[in-house]
Amino acid sequence: MIVLIPLYAAFRKVPVYETFLSGAQEGFGTAINIIPHLVGMMVAISMFRASGAMDMLASLFEPLFHWLHIPAEVLPLGMLRPLTGAGSLAFTTELIKTYGPDSMIGRIASTIQGSTDTTLYVLTVYFGAVGIRRSRYALKVGLFSDMVGFAAAIMICLLVFG
């Protein structure tokens, strides 16, 4: 892909390097713009973990999750994912940092984070942009698909990496 796309583009007479730079510039801006969001959320989540609050929350659901053979550590991620993109990204990072990217928890967290978008944010931006105030069943559909995605991510990871 790294070779094919520029080759095809050159064939279509696109100035490949200059085009690359203009896109890259945007990527740089995006990565820099994330910093405040990520710092804010990482602080909160790192505190949440260090204080022992996370363990308390996880231990509440431990029996159910143990019974289902699911690591309870990923549960807060499932709750955060539809609500805040930066928050769930920070949480995923925290899990990857603590348990390692190649652990089962790290893999499951990566898959959950990558597989759906932040429902609440998308709803606010898209409907807000055109002045829709009554979203009817859209929120329910979004949250339902988040739940399905969460369960699917866990099951697929357990199957593939288990």
Partner: protein, 236 residues
């Protein structure tokens, strides 16, 4: 909403730390968290810069438009109540292809343009139409080919196989999207017969020329101006 979540984390941490006597660790964790926030963002730079650069080339070579054409039958199936030649469909296709490639910054403005076009067909301007709900469902669960952000974070924490989650993510995202579409269809049917759009000639004629195919020229321009947030970027 985000404000409450953030406050909840901090207050709950404070209370839990008071109970368990980990006050010192709490302060340390706050600064440690800030530090990893920056570390992770810096880890993201390399992948984001490279990937978005590559994707801009794909965009300028009209690869996105080609993909949009492939999506045409899918979009027709998903939006039966939007007239065939309506500009909204073009924007929807562009929005979907940008999402698939993980170009959140390009997907959001395209999605908003599509919403604006759908709004023109909407009889009640304050209530979402069925087509709008479907577009939203597609975006909340959007299919992503390459989860670049996650790969970057896994690289930062020295994963042996940073990209091994591509397959599992794709499978999970497909299932989530299928669920979203199914639920959307179910609600659509439950809420009765979709309203028929009869009056489409006048309103959409002018817009058709500029936006019919989600035009590549306008596409790049809008993408540059609008800060967006997609799955890849995950900024809220």
């Amino acid at each position: 909403m985000v404000n409450w979540i953030w406050l909840f984390f901090i207050v709950a941490s404070f209370i839990a730390a008071a109970v368990t006597g980990r006050m010192e660790a709490l302060t340390e964790a706050a600064f440690d968290g800030a530090k990893s926030g920056v570390t992770v963002s810096f880890g993201l730079i390399s992948v984001m810069v490279f990937w978005l650069g590559l994707m801009r080339i794909a965009e300028d070579a009209r690869l996105l438009d080609r993909m949009a054409v492939l999506l045409q039958p899918v979009v027709r199936f998903l939006f039966p109540d939007v007239p065939r030649n309506h500009p909204a469909l073009g924007y929807i296709m562009s929005n979907m292809s940008a999402n698939i490639l993980g170009l959140g910054n390009a997907a959001t403005p395209m999605g908003i343009k599509a919403m604006q076009e759908l709004q023109k067909l909407n009889p009640d301007k304050e209530t979402a139409s069925a087509a709008m709900c479907t577009l939203l469902a597609l975006n909340t669960s959007s299919i992503t080919l390459v989860p670049t952000t996650l790969i970057a974070i896994r690289m930062t924490y020295s994963s042996a196989h940073p990209a091994e989650i591509v397959g599992t993510t794709l499978a999970a995202t497909l299932i989530a999207t299928a669920a979203a579409i199914a639920a959307d269809r179910w609600y659509r049917h439950r809420s009765g017969k979709p309203p028929q759009w009869k009056d489409i000639g006048g309103g959409s004629g002018g817009a058709g020329a500029s936006g019919k195919h989600g035009g590549a020229g306008g596409y790049a321009a809008i993408a540059n101006n609008t800060p967006g947030s997609g799955k890849g970027e995950a900024v809220v």
